[in-house]
Point group: D2
Chain length 382, copies 4
């Protein structure tokens, strides 16, 4: 590390995720007591003017326009990949080989195979690594994980999770290029399966353990759109919607669904888990609440409790404000930085590692395959 | 009683409340095991054609067009008064003197003075009597009363209650005559104070004990309307909205508010009570739910619980359907009949009695007076 | 018909559904203007004492202990089947052959094959017939159907529906016999697929049209239970939980799930539909509300609207109380009687007919088959 | 200004509000395009060790332990007062006289008289000034203000607002000293009236115009507590709860209530406004939602809409994330900095100014007086 107290960051990409990560690096040390202070050393993107403007706004000390230059720099400890999915593997492998720590936006690769090369690279190089499945750091979800770990739910019977959006319903929306590469399967790898369901799956694997088999269905509602890079009407090859049934190793059964065609829902990531003794649910549109049902409550007073996750005894919350005052979306990234840096100080890995990210890709690959074969598909162990 | 098993009812009035009462008399014995079976012996109203039609629909055995005739009949055990407020006192006093049991729609009288004569009459005659403050029989509210009686709340600090409607906002709405006598102070006695706040107050006195003093404010937003009986534009003399601050004998402080000018609210009767150890709230738009907060819950899991009051262990509910299946508005009247008839079988009074109804009128009188004097007014003990 | 004004009912079964139907026959003519008045002529069940007690409570004029006697009576116009599933087909076929109208509790038969014989019987006999899929008569759902018929949603992309209960989680719960025959596959036909999912499917077919193919998964969490009739521990052969993915003929995709192992949910029947221009959702725990999202609303003011379905312009509601005052579960049966009797007066069929009920059974059969074959199964046209 | 691009901040106080302000100064320029960049030049507090630690965490370039030194510095453009209420007036007056811009935490002074001296000072000195009534910058509330300004509500009939907390219920909680000076009337000026109701009032004056008269009630539930500075049991002289009725100049009537004894509520700031054509409500526990009822909606589809205020067309939100992703409490301060600095660039005042803050104090003074006199009190014009 360039300095005992500093952790020098080299960011690739300045889009939406470049902003959330930069903010997290800056805010984490102000609210959490961390062993290292992230320093925004350099940001890299191809457009020189825009990357300079981004660097100035966030306080990056320098810019690069070729990620290979960034990876080669000696004053960088950590490469943070926030560029489109098709760039993840190449950059991550190179960064690991250069001995850098590597953080990578989700999904790890466009396929499990691609993700596998990334896992191999960071594990061979023994470099700290983490995937930005940020929703694991929502305080309400962390509390749920804690309640599960304390075995308050008993045997788990059901799990269900959705990610519902509605931003691609218009036929007039083009595909491709900045902001719209998520509609281009060459860049994104897949549609909602990799973009949205990957979040649901990562969370489910963490909360409820391995998935063993899936039966899936996908749909592309709008078959062709103008491509911003070619100017032509081109076929859409991503999945607009994706749903699957599955079984978990713990015997529970589950339904998952993601779509960009659910009118009225902006980013409605939901999850619910039903156990013998308790149930809980959560959703992203009110991320500061956990709904909890405890069957051990007195019979006549049983009900779903809406817990406002803003007390000092709730995960992460003593570092923020006072009871009743909610935090928001960006804080999940801040928590992830805080956890990564804390783990670094103790030579621990911070989850989800690249290997954890690979486990999710085994499931997304199986989902996409099952939708084609119309068969149940088994999930390999990551 | 005309027959050991039968309880012969003579109903006065066939409006909205005539329907709810008739339905309750018919339904109560089908769902509750009662010592007497209410028999719809006669219904009385001035319009002969309409009262016949009403009688046919509900199965009344006979009709009358003069309530004095009804009261004079020997085959009637109980006079049920569901006619406009200005008729309550005269009918109730006559019925009591004739030795009939008397049920009366709320408010008991147009003023505490009028209500006092009714109390005197039924108490002198020693006849069973009850006021139709039906919301005391909402299962969720009865559960709340039980929780309070078990001292689960500790010292009470706050009480608040509203009754918000929006049906008189239009300037085009006339006053007076059928369906609209509630806008005519000669008939109704007052506006929302007697019509709506009376419900809030009756409930509060039952749940939280006596009120000692009030400071009130009333308003008439629309000053004149066409009168349906005269055809003329006439001043509006009722209160369109009424609110007051008060103190209870138990040391808690409270706010009450009722209006017919709260756009978007149809019949939003709400209440909330905050104690040292617990709080609860309820509202009429989702009357099958009780919201409950218990401070003795484990700290990190404290929250407001939404209890779906449909289990067999909830008040009245074992007599209805199965868990999850809600009942509605009309059931509050059915419960009130069931309770009245059960009490009758045990020679007990069923609350709220006329004396309980008088206690509410002491408060509504004080509210109306305080709004005029702009002073705090003390409440007499009923 | 025995009398131009009367419709003489012969009810089979006095359990939970016997109560809901009896109440509906009594209440419908009091709240709706109907061409015939249902008369409770006879109720039939094997236990003579209990059927007499039931008859007395509800006002049935006579009792039978053999349904064949009931079917043979000349003073009965309509046979209403509210006995366990394994009795439906035989009684319905005999009743139709005797020229009676036939109403039958859902599911129609234990299998599509059994249901098919019932359809054949009523259609050959040209007798009015209806299945008690009562939830089609929830006012909020009827409003939704109307909005769909007015094409306010545009192209439909998604449908999802659940029926979540938790009453069989305890290992101590026995199977078989009164109240528990739903756990015995010989009597019930299947578990939650026929008991709960059938409701979800009937509603979906009505709202969203035919389902073309399904991929399903079922589970029996508790493998054996004491049987109340034999006193022995016996295997459980019903499905405790059932879920499926499917496609509709209109191109939309869907997920369905039912279970009796979802802790915290009593009777949570939910549905949601997402169209190009609008979305809506509803659930049985707050059956008096419809959640509606209209994309044509002004952009900055778009949101999910909670419509309190208690206004006179809402389906059925002008016959009940006033705005803000909710009705409950039992009213769905009252509405179904009102609709059936009204249709009878106009020589129209009232949906869902037995043929409609058969369409649901094609889906439930395919669901159960798919869960075994682990393949997608096509749905025949009813 | 020390530099055309920089705005040098001198902060007084490092408590809870010191943190929210510091964060806001740092974050505002990263998310908003501002004419000046706030620079954290110095922070001042009496405890040298702790102020150094605070300065290091937030990046203040220097520290002071005497606010007079801070005010005297030439390299400071703006004095930001985040120290306890009893220090506001003296510091603000000195800062204004020294020609500094002055920002001050709410309430402006302990009394209207004290606040008046502060208004005089900043107005005489012609220095930009603002009070941190941060909740005016909640995007949902700003949208509401916009809807009101567009006259979508018509004539206003009702306003109601609460601020409910429960953190002082325990008798064991001491008073006085750090973190607890809000229980000491010498320091705080008053209890919930100045601490909580002041927020409700400021918001109401902004949204609904001037208040003309009030009738109030206050209560101190726990009469004495140990004082942390003296170690003695001492009387509590603040108000634990405060409520009032009032009339607005626009003819609407209102209820306000604040307390620290409402078990189950952490920081439940609520408001509702009812107009002829529309109503809206909002609360701080779900600050990212606005509830809106529009009477001009089609009759059968009227309902309360829950608008998730996360779209780019919502106030401030295009500067944050994407639809569906919520922001939290701290953002209200960031918005206030952004608005202040933007206004500065255009030589405009940013509301609420000290004069606006004084208007609130006229009301809080009248509330406290009315509670003592038990009379209606008129409100002077600020």
């Amino acid at each position: 590390m360039s300095n005992k107290k500093e952790l020098s960051i080299g960011l690739v990409g300045y889009g939406f995720m470049g902003r959330t990560h930069s903010n997290a690096f800056l805010q984490a040390p102000r609210f959490f007591n961390l062993p290292y202070r992230p320093v925004l050393k350099a940001v890299c993107a191809r457009n020189a003017d825009r990357v300079k403007s981004f660097a100035e706004n966030w306080g990056y000390q320098s810019v690069e326009t070729d990620w290979r230059e960034l990876v080669a720099r000696n004053d960088i400890d950590l490469i943070d990949i926030a560029s489109p999915n098709n760039t993840h593997a190449e950059i991550a492998v190179a960064a690991a080989r250069a001995g850098k720590m590597v953080l990578c936006e989700k999904p790890l690769g466009r396929t499990a195979k691609e993700a596998g090369t990334m896992v191999d690279a960071v594990e061979s190089a023994h470099v700290p690594n983490m995937v930005w499945y940020n929703y694991r750091r929502v305080p309400a979800v962390v509390l749920l994980k804690k309640l599960l770990d304390e075995d308050r739910f008993g045997r788990i019977f059901h799990y269900r999770s959705q990610f519902l959006q509605d931003w691609t319903i218009s036929q007039d929306l083009p595909q491709g290029g900045e902001g719209l590469w998520r509609l281009d399967s060459n860049v994104a790898g897949s549609g909602v399966t990799g973009d949205l369901l990957a979040h649901n799956i990562d969370m489910a694997l963490w909360l409820n353990g391995p998935i063993t088999e899936v039966s899936a269905m996908t749909e592309t509602f709008i078959k062709e759109r103008k491509h911003n890079l070619t100017g032509q009407i081109e076929p859409i090859t991503i999945d607009d919607a994706s749903a699957f049934l599955c079984r978990f190793a713990n015997g529970s059964m589950a339904l998952f669904e993601a779509t960009r065609y659910a009118r009225g829902h902006k980013a409605l990531f939901t999850l619910e888990i039903n156990g013998e003794r308790a149930s809980a649910s959560w959703d992203l549109h009110d991320l500061h609440r956990l709904e909890f049902f405890d069957h051990r409550d007195e019979g006549q007073l049983r009900g779903w409790k809406s817990i406002h996750i803003t007390d000092s005894e709730h995960p992460y919350m003593k570092n923020w404000w006072v009871p009743g005052l909610q935090i928001g979306y960006e804080h999940t990234f801040i928590h992830q930085v805080a956890d990564f840096v804390s783990a670094l100080g103790e030579n621990r890995a911070a989850a989800p590692t690249f290997r954890d990210g690979l486990a999710t890709e085994y499931v997304t690959d199986a989902v996409l395959k099952s939708a084609k074969t119309k068969s149940w598909e088994k999930i390999p162990v990551a």
